[in-house]
Point group: C2
Chain length 336, copies 2
């Protein structure tokens, strides 16, 4: 591929838009001249950020979109009604072949909805899936699905496993990654009908399925990929994300007990901060929405410019490694 990979960055996404989005996009463009970065959003606001930092306008392409989907907007209705929002306009650019990837730190539900309907799905994919990363005792665990859809059927879960395997293999370079199914007990009879049927499908899928695992195994690193319904995955994701904050709360309470406790907590806080670095979402470059017909990366609402730049890099990797083409041909061969 000699052509530049064109990546649309949502300039209006996240809690610190457009500043962090614009600066992150610029950072990505400066680091890598094999990509073209396209900022979509309110043009005046984008230019204001560029000028405030004396950034050359030619580093990025700007596409105006007059509307903004806020973090609190209802995903389904905002995507329907705000047709000139950055999230809708950006996805349609990918659909129309004007870009290869869409990156946003905006309203997660709205990005997933817009990508699914405005970019469209890869041929053969019934449902796209959103994944996330958890550090584990051995490295990184990826969990799919974490909330693109709830009420997944066995066939959907099989699809998530297939897409996740190709993603992890190509993006992390882990060949034949292990896949496990999240449930309430290692015995096969546990977890109800969907789990039982999904186990059966996964066992016969040709994927590296290692069986069922429990909640206590997530952080142990038993499997490269963990598959679950978006309902469970989303609760696990948000519960896990809340733990460092809760720990901080406990430490603050403890430090109130006296001066010695206060000093000890000061030291402990520094240690914990360093020790928890593997949990830092910024390094992972957002989470992928797999199954849509173009790369789509969704970031945390509080993404820093550094995190946004990493998201752009991740989107580029997906395009470059032809993850979608591989998903499509794997599905075709599976259905034969």
């Amino acid at each position: 591929m000699n052509k530049k990979i064109r990546i649309v960055v949502d300039a209006m996404g996240g809690d610190f838009s457009p500043v962090n989005d614009v600066l992150g996009a610029v950072e990505a463009a400066q680091k890598d001249n094999s990509i073209e970065v396209i900022l979509v959003g309110i043009k005046d606001k984008i230019i204001e950020v560029l000028d405030s930092k004396n950034i050359d306008h030619n580093l990025v392409t700007i596409v105006h979109a007059s509307e903004v989907i806020s973090m609190s907007d209802s995903p389904a209705s905002s995507v329907r009604t705000k047709q000139d929002s950055s999230i809708v306009v950006g996805c349609k650019m990918v659909r129309d072949g004007k870009a290869d990837a869409f990156v946003s730190a905006g309203n997660t539900g709205a990005v997933a909805t817009s990508a699914t309907f405005n970019i469209g799905r890869i041929r053969g994919v019934e449902r796209p899936t959103m994944g996330t990363y958890f550090p584990n005792e051995a490295g990184i665990t990826t969990i799919f699905d974490v909330g693109a859809f709830v009420d997944s059927k066995p066939n959907h879960l099989l699809g998530y496993a297939l897409m996740a395997s190709i993603f992890v293999e190509n993006i992390y370079g882990i060949s034949n990654p292990t896949v496990a199914l999240l449930t309430v007990g290692e015995e096969e009879e546990k977890g109800g009908k969907v789990i039982k049927e999904t186990s059966e499908l996964l066992r016969n899928s040709g994927l590296n399925f290692i069986g069922n695992i429990e909640g206590r195994d997530i952080l142990k690193g038993k499997s490269n990929i963990i598959i679950c319904d978006g309902f469970t995955g989303n609760i696990v994701l948000k519960f896990g994300e809340s733990f460092p904050k809760f720990l901080k709360h406990l430490l603050v309470e403890y430090s109130k007990k006296g001066l010695i406790q206060k000093l000890k907590v000061l030291i402990a806080k520094g240690v914990i901060k360093d020790a928890l670095k593997p949990l830092d979402y910024q390094e992972y470059g957002g989470v992928p929405l797999l199954g849509v017909n173009g790369a789509c990366i969704i970031g945390h609402g509080s993404s820093t410019p550094y995190a946004i730049a990493n998201m752009v890099k991740r989107a580029k990797d997906i395009v470059e490694k032809q993850v979608n083409q591989k998903i499509e041909s794997r599905i075709i061969s599976l259905n034969k």
Copy 2:
């Protein structure tokens, strides 16, 4: 009630049986002479523990049961086949009016199964529910269900909420406790059909329903009671329990970086241990299985004698506060 409350303690339950079970039962009997503690299990082994500590045999009543359900036995089949196990014999004593409560640190699934089928359900209760506790920023959150059953219907979830409300009100003294439904977004349309219908039922239940909450809210203390399907609850419970261990792993890794890091981690570890004390399951006295026709408390496999004694105390509270009678009359009035 002048009659003593009779509490059966499974002497063969948990990873340190019969030692911890027997010593915990004795501790409970010594502390409170308003209860009669009945140890069920292999008689010789129970006596051996008593004699090793020179404990007066008259402090407890011993009932022999020749079989043992191990921690790794399949719940359903072990309860069916090991009819002379402590878990089956103990539950049948409650069913037959020979005891008021059953307490075990044994195989959780087997205890729940045996209690449901051998003690039987409270009139009007469709499904028993097992709850757990999480500390939160304001105090304690109770979560029901955490694994008694998966695939709960809206009506089951309503039942869990009702039983949990009566339990929390009577055992924790929180009048009109708040109830929230665990799902993937605060908007009502999220979470699928079961969540939508359950929300509707809870809103019209007369319980103090405050709405839907997300995974990130569990540790914040937004609600006294959180209701979810046993599948989700079990994963949340086990994932949450694994976090302190993961944190310890991160600290160990960090301490390997050098001598200064090692010293800092030493201090941090002490602080974290103290700060995490609110997470200590021992203090909570096990988790209740509500809806069975007698008090039933299930403890952690690694329960210490102190934890077992607290479980006995909790079982006594349930009997004394007439939690089951209140559940039954609330269900009758709801169905009128």
